[in-house]
Amino acid sequence: MSHTRTYLPAVVLFVAAIVVWELFVQLFDIQQFLLPAPSVIGRAFADNFGRLVSIGWFTTKEALGGLLIGCTAGIGVALITARWTIASETMMPFAIAANSVPILAFAPIVNNWFGVDNPLSKMVIVAVIVFFPMMINTVRGLTLVDANALEMMRSFATSDFRIVWHLRIPNAMPYIFNAFKVVVPLSMIGAVVSEYFGGNRSALGIFITQEAAQFRFANAWAGIIIACIVGITLYAVVLVAERLIIPWHSSVRKQTT
């Protein structure tokens, strides 16, 4: 009941936008290479569905691989350095600086290092992109702990490990989920865009550039839509996981009205 009410405006807005887009293209007779009509993109999507799914999956695997490597490393480094506050404090400015480097600019070079056809070259780019936001947020979550809570753990005279386990890690969970919400869309952008600089023929980024180069713009748009669907799906997975794993946090608490 309440779900329909929550999502209804968004659905209406989405449908309205599609209708306006369609009318806009039809009425003003917009050229295909500028903007194809949704109906045309829809047809291209249906015609190439099998192919789109397989190349979409290929690129999704690159994004997921990069996420796995980058997030594991980011959380791991944060856990190791948070143990020594001084280490993480010296590292943070560098991490924040590194985070503002446009890592995608290195894509052609990384393609060279690992071989342009090797999915690993894309995973490495994605991993580096997601590493810094994940690490920075996790360090924050592990260190921005209520001083009273630390004092209480101290009164229990317990080990550093137990303080990390009972206090710092739970405290960091909401920060980690916020990082995931940022890096999951980034991972898909990273994978597709680094494919623009060359890669396996069965990859989404290559498909989009080649179709566009051959003036099959509706196909290129269909590829973009696949990328959007994957991005949104991964984001939804993060939201569901957040609800399941940290139901106690204020951002996901069930309202008892």
Binding site: D146, N148, A149, E151, M152, M153, R154, S155, F156, A157, T158, R162, H166, L167, P170, M173, I246, W248, H249, S250, R253, T256
Partner: protein, 262 residues
């Protein structure tokens, strides 16, 4: 021969941010012996160093001068030996744990087995009148209820020394009186030593063997008032003229302390 004091302050000073522009002399020349099984209250104006005094006993901060001894050892060693339980001025509950599991936390840390700690936590929650709230989360409870959870948590390990920082400050008068009776019963049944910080004169007098009146800036012990009311205390105590006499004495010293601080 005098018994070994449970807590002993020997010429203790506590200065925060020494040498800085915001240097604060929180405590000055504190000398105090607390006897075994004593119930001692600390009362004084806000900022006079009551919490600081408790935190020194708990080795949560170190003295700037002098020594704090707990059970005949350094406060540091006593903390490592789990010699005390503490109720903090804020409830400090973990949102990621249910009420029951918040109470179990110290038992879990100390390595008690699961069945035992669940049993113990349930009993204590009953005692602080929170039976039925085991599976609630901290944010679903009122401030006074949260503070009672933190009392249950401090009692979980059955400490021989209980440090309580304004534990009943957030309670209504009736609940507070019931909690006072509970605490009094626990104190009599177990031979626990209690150091109890409060702003309430009547609560301090009702519960204590001695009431320490402190003055502020710098925090000093102004006077120690002996409360010679018969134990156990109960409804009859509230009618006892000696109670009013003791309250009057504490109030007078508190007034002097305020004047001294101003």
């Amino acid at each position: 021969m005098e018994a070994v004091p449970v807590v002993s302050f020997d010429n203790v000073d506590k200065i925060f941010n020494r040498g800085g522009a915001d240097e604060t002399v929180a405590l000055k020349s504190i000398n105090l012996d607390i006897r075994p099984s004593e119930f001692i209250s600390i009362i004084g104006p806000s900022g006079c160093g009551k919490s600081t005094l408790l935190r020194l006993v708990g080795d949560l901060i170190a003295p700037s001068a002098g020594t704090v001894t707990v059970n005949g050892k350094e406060a540091h060693q006593a903390r490592l030996d789990h010699d005390y339980g503490m109720v903090f001025q804020q409830p400090v509950l973990f949102d990621w744990r249910t009420i029951q599991r918040n109470v179990e936390l110290p038992l879990e840390v100390y390595g008690f087995d699961k069945a035992e700690r669940q049993q113990r936590a349930r009993e204590l929650l009953q005692m602080v009148e929170l039976g039925g709230f085991e599976n609630h989360r901290p944010w679903q409870l009122s401030g006074g209820m949260q503070q009672r959870v933190s009392i249950a948590r401090a009692l979980a390990t059955a400490p021989k020394l209980l440090l309580m920082d304004e534990p009943f400050g957030a309670l209504d008068e009736m609940t507070r009186e019931r909690m006072n009776m509970e605490l009094h019963a626990i104190w009599r049944q177990t031979d626990t030593t209690v150091i109890f910080v409060t702003h309430s004169i009547s609560e301090a007098v009702f519960l204590s063997n001695r009431v320490i009146v402190m003055s502020a800036r710098p925090g000093r012990i102004m006077q120690i008032v002996d409360i010679d009311l018969p134990i156990p205390r109960g409804e009859h105590t509230r009618q006892d003229p000696a109670l009013f006499e003791a309250e009057r004495a504490v109030r007078e010293w508190l007034r002097k302390a305020e004047a001294f601080s101003a």
